[in-house]
């Protein structure tokens, strides 16, 4: 009877841990996916001379001050850096970009936007722009442009229309709108426009140069370390998504810590529950233990029986708990939905999580059984039998 109660208790504990972990993991991957679907893992920028005055000689600084502010700076020797970074094992994709502020003009309407010039093949491996298309296509050639949906509606343009793009220095070009994208954020949809690298370089006065290089890495959580390594090796500024989303990243870490604390608390509750049940069982069974000892059962054997019981209780609880957790995850995915019927966010059902919980519950049970087992083994058979 107590066995049933404690198994149910352990099951609930394990189920909660599994569900919580899956929710947390699901939320994290979901948010990270959203963040990283519109942002490269690492962006390389020209060194910030102003922020690091010691790195550049005074003459160069003077030169910078004299530079017209609208001039977009290029990364020195960017081909060499891109090639060098592309050879790094942790870097999975490299895409140079020439970007800068331009004016989008359509009839009377004018909008200040950012023109992002890139090589579609390389860039789409980092940001899957074609997947964000709501209209048209994304295979940019020299005279094409892809714009965000808010800008399209602001200017009253659609696929097939022409858009005039001018720069403060006077350069201008008329481009064909071939695609309209939804980048998942109103501000970005108003601001970002995409063109081929050469088109942007010509407009922005960056012929042969690029203003940034976008990268993806194999392990997104190592992005900051990779960024620092690149920065140290090449002297360019390397910003990882972790740094640019520092607040969000801290929040995730806080959640992970909270989840760990919760796990420890549940494990402790399980341990005390199992220990209590076993102590009661030692007291209840003291006569049987006594007789077993009288019949030649050693202290070690008695101890093993109780340790085993603890481990089995923990394991049984974790098995039922896993089922419970999986059921909760399933229920969550079928019941809690977005208005459009898709799950709010996909929960991550990691098989490792189940194995990990089972092992943890078993060890917890084992640890919880130590005190009762020692107590059972130390039982004086004479006292126990006379009881």
């Amino acid at each position: 009877m107590q066995t049933l109660f404690i198994v149910v208790g352990v099951s609930i504990g394990v189920g909660v841990i599994i569900f919580m972990s899956a929710t947390l993991a699901g939320q994290q991957t979901n948010i990270i996916k959203r963040v990283l679907s519109s942002q490269p893992h690492i962006t390389l920028l020209p060194p910030q001379e102003v922020a690091r005055p010691l790195r550049a000689p005074p003459i160069a600084e003077a030169a910078i001050v004299q530079k017209p502010f609208q001039r977009v700076r290029s990364i020195d020797q960017w081909q060499k850096i891109a090639a060098e970074v592309g050879r790094m094992r942790s870097v999975t994709a490299v895409s140079p970009m020439a970007s800068g502020p331009v004016l989008a003009v359509r009839g009377d309407a004018t909008r200040a936007v950012t023109l992002l010039g890139m090589d579609p093949v390389a860039y789409y491996r980092i940001i899957a722009l074609p997947e964000k298309l709501i209209k048209g296509r994304a295979n940019l050639t020299a005279d094409d442009i892809v714009i965000g949906m808010e800008l399209a509606s602001d200017l009253g343009v659609t696929v097939g229309d022409k858009l005039r793009v001018t720069v403060a220095s006077g350069q201008a070009a008329t481009l064909n709108i071939i695609g309209i994208v939804d980048l998942g954020n109103k501000g970005v949809n108003q601001r970002n426009t995409y063109a081929a690298l050469h088109t942007a370089q010509a407009l922005l006065g960056l012929t042969g140069g690029v203003s940034s290089i976008d990268l993806t890495v194999d392990d997104i959580y190592a992005a900051e370390n990779v960024a620092q390594a690149i920065s140290a090796a090449t002297g360019v500024e390397a910003d990882s998504w972790i740094r640019t989303n520092a607040q969000f990243y801290t929040a995730i870490n806080a959640q992970i810590i909270a989840n760990t604390v919760l796990r420890i608390c549940v494990a402790l509750a399980i341990a005390f529950g199992i220990a209590a049940v076993l102590i009661v069982s030692v007291v209840q069974k003291s006569k049987e233990i006594g007789i077993l000892r009288a019949m030649g059962t050693s202290q070690g054997q008695v101890m093993r029986v109780f340790l085993l019981q603890g481990a089995v209780l923990g394991l049984a609880g974790s098995l039922f708990g896993s089922v419970l957790g999986a059921a909760a995850i399933h229920a969550w995915q079928t019941l809690v939905k977005n208005p459009d019927g898709t799950p709010l966010f996909p929960l991550v059902m990691d098989p490792h999580l189940f194995a990990y919980s089972a092992i943890l519950a078993m060890l917890t049970g084992l640890a919880a059984a130590v005190a009762p087992a020692v107590r059972a083994a130390r039982l004086d058979p004479v006292v126990a039998i006379r009881g």
């Binding site: 006569k287 049987e288 009288a294 019949m295 030649g296 202290q299 054997q301």
Partner: protein, 243 residues
């Protein structure tokens, strides 16, 4: 065979020998009381000895000491002619498992197990893992106590007499040299009591098991080879029964 190395072993080998055994409870406390005041006793192989005496005279205390469940506070205890005071807990447990069987007033069977499993328990304590030999021996013993049809029943479903017979079978599982029975018939009706007694008597005759049998029942005591009387922790009489 345990005594093969001892000179003169065989004919006059004693399974149990007590020399001036004393037992005090609460040693080192103000309520220290001595219960056994120097017991001398010798049981030969194959003897069936009744131990009688008033309540509180120290019969159970003596059996616990003899059964190596409790250490005496004085005197010497020999099992199969070897002295036991120098043995540690582990060695005592082993000696107990191999040489001594217990039957108590209450059967203390494990309720969650079948009759056969209960009988196998001492063999499991010895070997750790059940095997066919153990199962066969358990079935044989249950046949001897006439419980073959019950061998796979849970012991909780059996009558008091049947349970006590299972306990006897269990006590004999390791074929011990010495069977210690502390009022094993005390809780049984006359017919069941006689049944359990005859069972022990039969085993004693067939296996030459030495039996020390505590009882308040004079009729049963009269069927033993010898009656030892104990009063206030001292042996007051020790006589063979007339046959």
């Amino acid at each position: 065979m345990d005594n093969a190395s001892i000179p003169g072993a065989g004919a006059n080998q004693s399974v149990l020998r007590l020399e001036g055994i004393r037992k005090a409870y609460g040693v080192g406390t103000p309520i220290e009381t001595e219960v056994l005041h120097g017991i001398d006793l010798r049981l030969e192989r194959g003897e069936f000895c009744a131990l009688m005496g008033p309540s509180g005279s120290g019969k159970s205390t003596l059996l616990n000491v003899v059964g190596l469940l409790d250490r005496p506070t004085g005197g010497k205890l020999f099992i199969n002619d070897s002295e036991t005071s120098h043995l540690d807990d582990k060695a005592l447990t082993r000696l107990r498992g191999y040489s001594i069987g217990f039957v108590f007033q209450y059967h203390y069977l494990l309720p969650a197990f079948t009759a056969a499993e209960n009988v196998m328990m001492p063999m499991l304590a010895d070997r750790g893992r059940p095997n066919d030999d153990m199962r066969r021996r358990a079935e044989l013993l249950l046949e001897r106590v006439q419980l073959t049809p019950w061998r796979d029943s849970l012991v909780v479903n059996m009558s008091g007499g049947q349970q006590q017979r299972v306990a006897v079978a269990r006590a004999l599982a390791m074929n011990p040299a010495l069977l210690l029975a502390d009022e094993p018939t005390g809780n049984l009706d006359t017919k069941s009591a006689l049944n359990v007694f005859e069972l022990m008597r039969q085993m004693n005759r067939e296996q030459s098991t030495t039996v020390l049998f505590v009882t308040h029942n004079h009729d049963l005591a009269a069927r033993c080879d010898r009656i030892v009387q104990i009063v206030d922790g001292r042996i007051t009489s020790d006589q063979p029964t007339p046959h």
